[in-house]
Symmetry: C2
Subunit: 380 residues, 2 copies
C-alpha cells in the first residue's frame, strides 16, 4: 500500500470511524483500524461488539500508487494524524510490514496487524431502504434516549424501540419509572418493530452530528444499517419483545397546568439542590424527590425537605390552569428536568390524573412527543 | 441576624471563600461557611487544614438590620445562592436557629451549625508587609508550581520555596528530576526562607485570578497571610529545610541550541504520542521518554521507540546553534513540555553539558527564569 491524501480529509473520516473503535476489547485486532486501498478508493473500518463503521474515501486529493490493506493501531494512528501539521500525509507499507506515515520533516513507523485476522463485517444488503432525514432522527434520539434503562437487569429496556405500524412510527424509551414517546408519520414502508441499543444511538447521533442529508436505513433480522454520505454505520439490535406501552399513557386528565417551560425548569433545578439524594442500586445516579402542589388558591408550589440540611419552597405561576381541587405529587426532579429539556416549546403542560397515577408532559408545539413520569408515594 | 444584599456581590465573595471550603473534613463544622454580621460589615470565613480565607463585605447594597453570626452548610449555601434568579437576597436567622434565604417567590430554610464550634482563625498580625504585584506572583506560580513533587515521600518538595536573601528573591520548585527557578529583585525587606504548599499556591492563584492590585504578604513562623482587596488568604507553611539547589544549575554549556519555542513544543508533543509510558510508582502520572539528537550535520532530531507500537522521528530546525560534536540526550517529554509552557518567549535555548548531566532551558526574554531537567540514561 502506498497512498497520499490531504490530512484534513483523512481526519474527517477518522473522526467518524472513531465511534466504532473500542477502548478495550477481548479481540486485540478490533483495537485497530482497517485501511483498504483499492485502485481508486480508500476504505476505513472500525468495529466493536455493538457497531461497525465503514467510510469510503474517494476525495480528489487521494492518490493511490499501490493498493493493499493493513490494520493499524487505532488510537495511535488517529492521535498522530490529528497532531501532524502537514497538509498532505503519505501512507506507505514496506516489505517488512511496517506502515510509514511520512510528513514534511519526519516519519512515524507503525507495526501493523494482519488484515486477514480482521473479522469480516456483514453489512445488511437490501434493496429498499427506509428513508428519514438526519434532523428528524437526531430529534428522535434527543427526545427519547435519556429515558432508557441504565441497568442491565431488563436488557430490552436498555434500548430505544422503533415500531412502524401502518404508516405510524412510534419511538419509545422507558426505564419503567418514566417513559418518552414520539410519533412520526412514515409513508409506504412495511411494518417493523426493532429495539436499538442506547449506546449505538448515542454513537450514531455523534456520527451524524454535522450531517443534514437524508439517511437510508436498512433493517435485517438482528441488524440495522444506516447509510449517509460515504459512511455505513451498522448496529446490532436487541433481542426480545419490547413491552407493550400503548395502554400506559392515560388519555383523560382532570388537572392540566400550563407553565413557561424555562421558568418551571429553573425552579425545579433550584429546589432539587436541597432535596435528599437516593442512589439507584446498581448505578451511581442520584435522584432527588421533590413535591409539586396545586394549592386551593391555584398557586403552584415546588418544595423539598432534607432532614439534615433544611428545606425549600418556591412558587411558580402557571400560565393557565384547569383543575378541580388541590393535589400534591412527589417525583424525581431529575426525571422532570430531563423530560422538560426534551421539549423545544416555550410552554408545556403537566397533565395529572391522581397523586399516584402517571402524569404526562406535553409541549405546545410538539403534539407528537409525550413524556410520562410515575410519581412516588409521599407523606403530605 | 437579618440582612439584605445584592446577590451578585454575595456570589463574588462566595467564589473567593469557596477556595478554603474542604469537600470533606474530619471536622464537620469546617464544611460550613461562617457568616458574621457586625453593625456595618458582613464577614465570610472558610477554613481547611491548609488555608483559611476571610472576606469582608461592606458593599453599599448591604443592609444589616440585625447583627449576629451563623455557620451554614457551605456547598448547599453556595449552590443555592448561585442558582437563585433574584437581584437581592435576604438572610434571616429566626429564634429556632433556622436561616431563611428569602427571595421574590420562595424561601430556603437551612439548619445551621453553632458558630461557637467554629475554630478561631489566628491571622498573622504584623506591621510591615512585603508587597508584590498580583501579576508578578501569578507569573511566579505559573512558572514554578508544576515542578513540585507529587509524592509525599519528601514532604518539603511538595511545596515551592521562596528565599529572600539581600534583596534577591529566589523561587524554587523541584521533584528531584527537574527544577524550576525564578529570581525577582525585592527592595528593602528582611531576609526570609519559607516553603509554601503547592495546593495552597494553586488555590491562591485562583483566588487572585481577577485581581490586578498589589498584594500585601505577612510572614510568621509557620504561616503566610496574603491580603488583597477585602480578602485575607492565609496558608500554613511546610516545616523543614528546603534543600540547597544553588549549585545544581551549571553555568557553562558547550552546547547551546536555540529553537522557536512553539515549533519545538509541537514536535515533542507529537513524538511523545508514540513513546512508551512509564508510571511513577505512587502516582498515576505517565511520562514518556524521548530522545533529542544533535547530528553531525547540525540537524536536530527528536525521536522515540515503542516496542509494541512502532517508532517516530521528526527533525526540528534550530534557529541558532553553538556546539562541538554530536550528542544524544534522553528525557521525559512531559518535563520538557511543561518547562516550555512556562515561557512566554518566542525563542528558547537548550543548554547542554553532557548526555547524563542536567540540561537547562532559558527564554530569550526571560533572563530570570531557569528550567532544569535531568536526562535519563538511554541506549544509543
Amino acid at each position: 500500500m502506498n497512498l497520499t491524501i490531504d490530512r484534513e480529509v483523512l481526519i474527517d473520516s477518522l473522526n467518524t470511524i472513531s465511534r466504532g473503535l473500542p477502548t478495550k476489547s477481548p479481540m486485540p485486532i478490533l483495537l485497530g483500524i482497517k485501511l483498504y486501498a483499492t485502485d481508486k478508493d480508500l476504505f476505513l473500518t472500525s468495529s466493536n461488539s455493538d457497531i461497525s463503521v465503514e467510510v469510503r474515501i474517494n476525495d480528489p486529493s487521494l492518490v493511490i500508487e499501490e493498493f493493499g490493506q493493513v490494520v493499524v493501531p487505532g488510537r495511535f494512528f488517529i492521535d498522530i494524524i490529528r497532531k501532524l501539521n502537514s497538509k498532505k500525509v503519505n501512507l506507505y507499507l514496506n516489505e517488512d510490514n511496517v506502515l510509514f506515515i511520512k510528513v514534511d520533516r519526519g516519519e512515524y513507523r507503525l507495526r501493523i496487524m494482519d488484515p486477514l485476522d480482521y473479522p469480516k463485517i456483514d453489512f445488511v444488503s437490501q434493496e429498499n431502504p427506509f428513508v428519514i432525514s438526519s434532523n428528524t432522527l437526531k430529534n428522535i434520539i434527543r427526545e427519547t434516549l435519556f429515558a432508557t434503562c441504565q441497568s442491565e437487569k431488563k436488557p430490552i429496556l436498555t434500548g430505544v424501540n422503533f415500531n412502524l405500524t401502518d404508516g405510524k412510527l412510534t419511538i419509545t424509551a422507558t426505564d419503567s419509572f418514566r417513559l418518552a414517546q414520539k410519533v412520526v408519520n412514515i409513508e409506504d414502508y412495511e411494518n417493523f418493530n426493532i429495539t436499538v441499543p442506547a449506546k449505538s444511538l448515542d454513537d450514531l447521533f455523534k456520527a451524524i452530528d454535522t450531517c443534514n442529508d437524508d439517511l437510508k436505513i436498512y433493517i435485517s433480522n438482528n441488524k440495522m444499517l444506516v447509510v449517509f454520505k460515504n459512511v455505513c454505520f451498522q448496529t446490532r439490535l436487541l433481542e426480545g419483545n419490547y413491552p407493550d406501552t400503548s395502554r400506559l399513557i392515560p388519555d383523560y386528565f382532570p388537572i392540566v397546568i400550563k407553565f413557561n417551560k424555562d421558568e418551571l425548569q429553573e425552579v425545579v433545578e433550584r429546589i432539587s439542590l436541597l432535596s435528599p439524594r437516593d442512589k439507584e442500586k446498581d448505578k451511581e445516579i442520584t435522584y432527588s424527590i421533590i413535591k409539586l402542589s396545586l394549592k386551593k388558591d391555584r398557586i403552584i408550589e415546588v418544595s423539598t425537605t432534607n432532614a439534615s440540611i433544611g428545606d425549600g419552597t418556591e412558587q411558580v405561576i402557571p400560565t393557565d390552569i384547569e383543575a378541580n381541587g388541590p393535589i400534591t405529587i412527589g417525583f424525581s426532579s431529575r426525571y422532570l428536568i430531563e423530560a422538560l429539556r426534551s421539549f423545544t416549546s416555550t410552554e408545556v403542560t403537566l397533565n395529572i390524573l391522581g397523586d399516584i397515577r402517571p402524569f404526562i408532559i406535553r409541549g405546545d408545539n410538539e403534539p407528537n412527543l409525550t413524556q410520562l413520569i410515575l410519581p412516588v408515594r409521599i407523606d403530605n
